[in-house]
């Protein structure tokens, strides 16, 4: 069953939601910025500004000056929050250790995630960052938003928080950096009731799902990543907000194997769009690429002269499974050997396109290095159809996996670690699917094969007591 929203999505209008006037938003000049000094000495932080990249220190100073010039009643937490933040950071550089105390019992009522408590351990020296809680805001699918939306949340955060945010955290959330406990509920109210905007996941929850731009802008997308991300985010609200998992759990959706949100490296459950029929070939266009009429890779490497395009060297020889070739001057692909790596399609997008019988591959268990080192997710379901409302995936894949992990997973054990600990065989039993060649990552190095009675045609009989009467343990 699909998620049914309780109220329709409104179009947000900044003019109706704004807190600050244009004068307040543009309240300092570049001249003033040049002469501006924050109240602490921060030579090491300022050194970061001299590098080749835009610096957060430079951005933070702008925000500090902006807050200095706002009227007292136009901010509900301390004016100096940004200056104290930089001051404490400088001291952390000097001491070589952090001055944040992390975690705690802060949150919004009824939610076990979305707010991460943080406190300074130098509250006398830096009183305006005595509390510096982070809020995670669930980003819209593919991070598409209107400037009205962005300006509205910026105003809200300037008024009730530090004004500093991070676009975007690694789970995709818009991160509000730094506010006091008493502002959490009002911010949550404004977000929920006026901006129709929810908090994201944190802690032992389903984390904010994220997806690539998908069909909205990308011709390669084999699935509607935005729809799937939206549906599963809403359908699994309880898992997102009320922690009952052994640890974090991430969903990420990529529309094709180019994997623009890196689901394969960063999600406990990666969904990667794919096809099971044949790559579509436009032979005319292949000839045009070979004749130099169309630039390869969409012209991406045009900045340097790489010589004439050579389809043999640049496409056929680089096919990882060597399933391409030329026959009588025509490109041919042995599709059953193709691993859907996307290389040939990326090089000649006008000549080659993914097939039309599309669905997803589902992989499990990617994670960052805490136990056992980092790992990529494991291809487990090579192909499954993927149409709204995705009941086949919810019921036959997601929920059995969660049941297993919640039952067997140790505290703070990621799904990937449980798979390592109990084995792929167990994973396949949980999903009730047979082993498949696509799952094999390397030739087997383990010579032991354990058969179950029901796997062996003809079965066998064995009386363990009879055996033990002759063979002592």
């Amino acid at each position: 069953m699909a998620f049914e929203p309780k109220e329709v999505q409104k179009e947000l209008k900044y003019e109706e939601l704004r807190i600050y006037s244009d004068e307040e938003l543009n309240n300092y000049t570049e001249e003033e910025l040049k002469d501006f000094k924050i109240k602490h000495d921060i030579p090491m932080c300022e050194d970061l500004e001299s590098g080749p990249w835009p610096s957060f220190v430079a951005d933070a100073k702008r925000e500090a000056l902006h807050r200095r010039k706002l009227a007292d009643d136009r901010m509900l937490i301390e004016r100096d929050v940004v200056e104290d933040l930089l001051g404490q950071l400088e001291l952390s550089f000097e001491h070589g250790e952090t001055h944040w105390k992390h975690g705690g019992i802060v949150g919004v009522f009824g939610y076990g995630g979305g707010v991460i408590g943080r406190y300074s351990d130098l509250q006398d020296q830096f009183p305006s960052i005595a509390h510096f809680h982070t809020m995670r805001v669930n980003q819209p699918a593919s991070k598409f938003y209107t400037s009205d939306y962005l300006r509205s949340i910026c105003d809200l955060w300037e008024y009730r928080g530090s004004g500093m945010m991070n676009m975007h955290g690694s789970t995709g959330d818009i991160i509000f950096l730094g506010t006091f406990t008493e502002q959490l509920e009002p911010i949550f109210f404004e977000l929920g009731h006026k901006l129709q905007q929810d908090l994201g996941g944190s802690g032992s929850n389903l984390r904010t799902p994220s997806c690539c731009i998908g069909k909205a802008r990308c011709e390669w997308s084999c699935i509607d990543t935005q729809d799937m991300c939206y549906e599963l985010t809403h359908y699994y609200q309880d898992e997102l907000h009320r922690p009952a998992f052994p640890y974090k759990f991430k969903f990420k959706f990529d529309g094709c194997p180019n994997c623009c949100v890196a689901s394969i490296a960063r999600a406990d459950m990666s969904y990667i769009g794919t096809w099971r029929d044949e790559i579509r070939i436009d032979h005319e266009a292949v000839r045009a690429y070979m004749g130099g009429e169309i630039a390869p890779n969409g012209g991406a490497h045009a900045g340097k002269d790489w010589g004439k395009f050579d389809v043999q060297k640049e496409v056929i020889d680089l096919c990882p499974t060597k399933c391409m070739g030329m026959e009588d001057g025509k490109l041919v692909i042995d599709n059953k050997e193709c691993t859907r790596c996307m290389h040939c399609i990326n090089v000649m997008p006008r000549a080659l396109r993914p097939g039309t019988d599309t669905g997803v591959s589902i992989l499990f268990g990617a994670k960052a290095p805490i136990l056992e080192g980092a790992q990529m997710s494991l291809l487990t379901i090579p192909f499954i159809k993927c149409d709204p409302p995705y009941d086949n995936i919810k019921e036959n894949v997601i929920e059995p996996i969660w049941d297993w992990w919640m039952e067997e997973g140790k505290n703070r054990e990621r799904l990937g670690e449980l798979i390592q600990r109990q084995g792929i065989k167990k994973l396949l039993e949980v999903l009730n699917i047979p082993p498949m060649p696509q799952m094999v990552r390397e030739p087997r190095s383990n010579p032991y094969i354990f058969w179950k009675k029901e796997d062996v045609p003809g079965d066998w009989d064995r009386d363990i007591n009879d055996y033990r009467s002759r063979h002592k343990r």
Binding site: G203, P243, F245
Partner: protein, 76 residues
């Protein structure tokens, strides 16, 4: 539901620890009611949070449950 809530509170009150993983709560509840399933235990724990008897404690990466008023408080 009320039985499960009571079992969770009994466990939380008698434990030496002030914070618990959901798993600890689940095991404790299933010790008293072996047939209780995870979903119902979670519902009972959520209800206790809504009644302000339990609180969530989060480090950002992991979340634990605690008895309100015991252990670390809001403004430490």
């Amino acid at each position: 539901m009320d039985d499960l809530k009571q079992a969770i509170l009994d466990f939380a009150e008698s434990s030496k620890k002030t914070k618990f993983y959901f798993k600890d709560i689940q095991n404790a509840a299933q010790k008293v009611y072996p047939d209780a399933n995870k979903r119902d235990i979670k519902k009972a724990a959520t209800a206790l949070v809504n009644e302000e008897k339990l609180v969530y404690f989060s480090t950002g990466s992991t979340t634990m449950y605690g008895l309100k008023g015991r252990g670390q408080t809001e403004d430490y």
